[in-house]
Subunit: 219 residues, 2 copies
């Protein structure tokens, strides 16, 4: 859901003296991921080749081929690394505030400069590996956001005994993705709050309430 | 919103004896459009060249270059032709039924075989001309769907004096696009109705109601 964090996953390459556990292998991975993102934004998917990434990263091309195999493998690893972070959903004390803050993150991701998130979405239409990795990334984010829905339920903001957390979260965030990534309308600053408000009203009215014998319970 | 009609815009090429007004120029356009769609589905954007389209259509390449210039021009014209139809939004007698039927059309478009709609969406990430044309197509569909919202308002299904028709329609349809085109989850047959229900509940609760001095009134 929130767009892949563009630059928070890979810290700048460290000097030899501050090499962290993981050492050379982790540093190579950071260099290569950075090169993938830079190459994708600068020249697009068509110019994203293993050789170009190797050249930009300064890592030997044999190493890149051996470890990532092809462009699909590179993109999938960049996305998998983006999911390997400590991100947690917003916690503002209320469902509407949480969903609005979440949508602000999505909007920021989709309009960031350089447009890494949009480049990764575009790449997912070219590479099945990238498409699968993007889905894994989003699935992971949705799972983490179940905590947000669980808190709302605990506060008594949601009717019934259980809520389909994913359906609620998709309803809240989908309009932001739709307007920005597919319709490509200019970003409306009110969109995150408006979409959050509609989803909250729908949730309050029971749109995402599970039947009494429902298996899935939020939180 | 509803996905571009794949095959309803261009009837099969007619025989000389039944040539309709528009004549040769219209027939050439039909042949070329058909070739663009077939080429896109069969071999993808990378193999979509003016020469390949000319060869597949049987139309002389000089004619294709002169009239459509490049791949962006071809894709844009295919999408503009798709919008040049008599499509009207569903009219089931109720807002929930209308939005559900609309979402069924969207789902059918996104899961059709051959996957022309998905191929056009993918192409919009490659060609700015195609992206603009896809946006024009969807904008036109949203405008036509304002009638659906207007009827709901006239039936007293919506609170307040006016409704932001586009926001309501985006809320209803966006989850279908999000799940199918971006998250690429398997199509859930209940998704059209569930997304329509959430948007209807939100609308009933006033999520899309315009302020009393609002400029835009549905219908």
């Amino acid at each position: 859901m929130p767009a892949p964090p563009a630059s928070t996953d890979d810290p700048p390459p460290r000097r030899e003296t501050s090499r962290r556990p993981g050492g050379r292998s982790a540093r190579v991975r950071e260099l290569v991921h950075r090169a993938v993102r830079e190459q994708l934004v600068a020249e697009g998917f068509d110019a994203l080749t293993v050789d170009a990434v190797a050249a930009r990263s300064g890592v030997h091309r044999t190493t890149v081929y051996r470890r990532w195999r092809d462009v699909g493998g590179l993109l999938a690893d960049v996305l998998d690394a983006a999911a390997d972070d400590a991100w947690t959903p917003p916690d503002t004390g209320g469902l509407l505030g949480d969903l609005t803050a979440l949508n602000e993150e999505v909007l920021a991701g989709l309009t960031e400069d350089p447009p890494i998130t949009m480049a990764l979405i575009a790449a997912s239409f070219r590479s099945p590996d990238a498409a699968r990795a993007l889905r894994r990334f989003w699935d992971d984010r949705y799972r983490r956001c179940a905590a947000l829905v669980g808190r709302a339920a605990a506060r008594g903001e949601l009717p019934g005994a259980g809520t389909d957390a994913r359906a609620l979260l998709v309803a809240a965030t989908a309009p932001v993705y739709h307007q920005l990534a597919l319709l490509r309308v200019p970003a409306d600053p009110a969109l995150p709050a408006n979409a959050a408000r509609a989803a909250t009203l729908a949730a309050t009215a029971g749109a995402f309430t599970l039947p009494a014998d429902g298996q899935r319970v939020a939180g």
